[in-house]
Amino acid sequence: MAEKHSPLEQFLIKPLIPIKIGDVDLSFTNSALFMVVAVVLVGLLMTAGMGRRGLVPGRLQSIAEMAYEFVANLIRETVGSEGRKYFPLIFTLFMFILFGNMLGMIPSFFTFTSHIAVTFAMAAVVFVSVTILGFAKHGIHFFSFFVPPGVPIAMWPLLIPIELISYFSRPISLSVRLFANMLAGHTLLKVLAGFVPALGVAGIVPLAFVTALTGLEILIAFLQAYVFAILTCLYINDALHLH
């Protein structure tokens, strides 16, 4: 098979408009393009959906309201009413990831959530802002976060490093989960799709698999956005309510 049909070729970052400032490559890439597309689509959906506020919602308004209520419920369930302040952050993250994942499901479109640079940047924003929130809310008491309650002092030297590692593993697990799922799913689809022409008539078997997996991938695309949002909520909840 030719190299350009490699299953990993779809993740290649191609500069569309080369921009170079000093030694820093700031090119506008296909990844950046699809991020812009996702932002524009979310913006259009929300403004168009809310533009004509009918008592009986139209189609777009229904979708916009559903998205709003889904995230609002998520926050209410995990953080409670104090979490309402953080709605903009969580809603933005959720919609951005959801649209990034869903755009990636369209053949020949680029999936920007399949790059750890993108997912880690988002996870780092969550991690840093949650840490700042914890400090702003509790000041120096925030460090009690790392000391499990009811543990004898003799155990502290062992447990505090474990708690610290556990805390610092948050952005890693948050970003790796999203990126690895998207990367693995899209690679698998491409590999299986590569079998279809190679097997001739028997290619109908991998074709059936690809069809089924596409459905699964759409579910995963949604669930990953959901998991990212719910974990952000849980982290905010932890920072707000220290033990």
Binding site: P149, I172, Y226
Partner: protein, 117 residues
């Protein structure tokens, strides 16, 4: 007679409506329950790996800084594995990601003299 029948008609209609309502799947379809389970499973998988990765990373950096190859990396690998397992345990036991081993409602204020608030 017909006057008396009317409320009974209404009552019967009410009963039928109630019955129809109860037959409808409860607001959240079981599908969403399955989605929640699957999303939970997706969450757990990486927790363990992330703990180990961060532990090894910290150990490696400290080793490079202090020139104690490879001992700190080994020590932090073990600590990281412990942290990963604890992450998984906490998530599965429904304790959230909060530090500590008590359910949330009991955890507050009973921190053995180490009250946060």
């Amino acid at each position: 007679m017909s006057d008396k029948e009317k409320p009974s008609d209404l009552a019967r209609l009410e009963a039928r409506l109630k019955e129809a309502e109860s037959r409808r799947p409860p607001a959240e379809a079981p599908g969403s329950e399955r989605g929640k389970g699957l999303s939970f499973a997706l969450r757990i998988g990486t927790e363990l790996v992330a703990g180990i990765a961060v532990g090894v990373g910290i150990g490696w950096l400290l080793d490079r800084w202090l020139g104690t190859k490879p001992w700190l990396m080994i020590a932090f690998f073990v600590l990281g594995a412990a942290a990963g397992m604890m992450n998984v345990y906490r998530a599965v036991a429904g304790l959230g990601h909060q530090v500590g081993y008590k359910p949330k409602d009991r955890a507050r204020g009973s921190g053995d003299g180490k009250k946060a608030d």
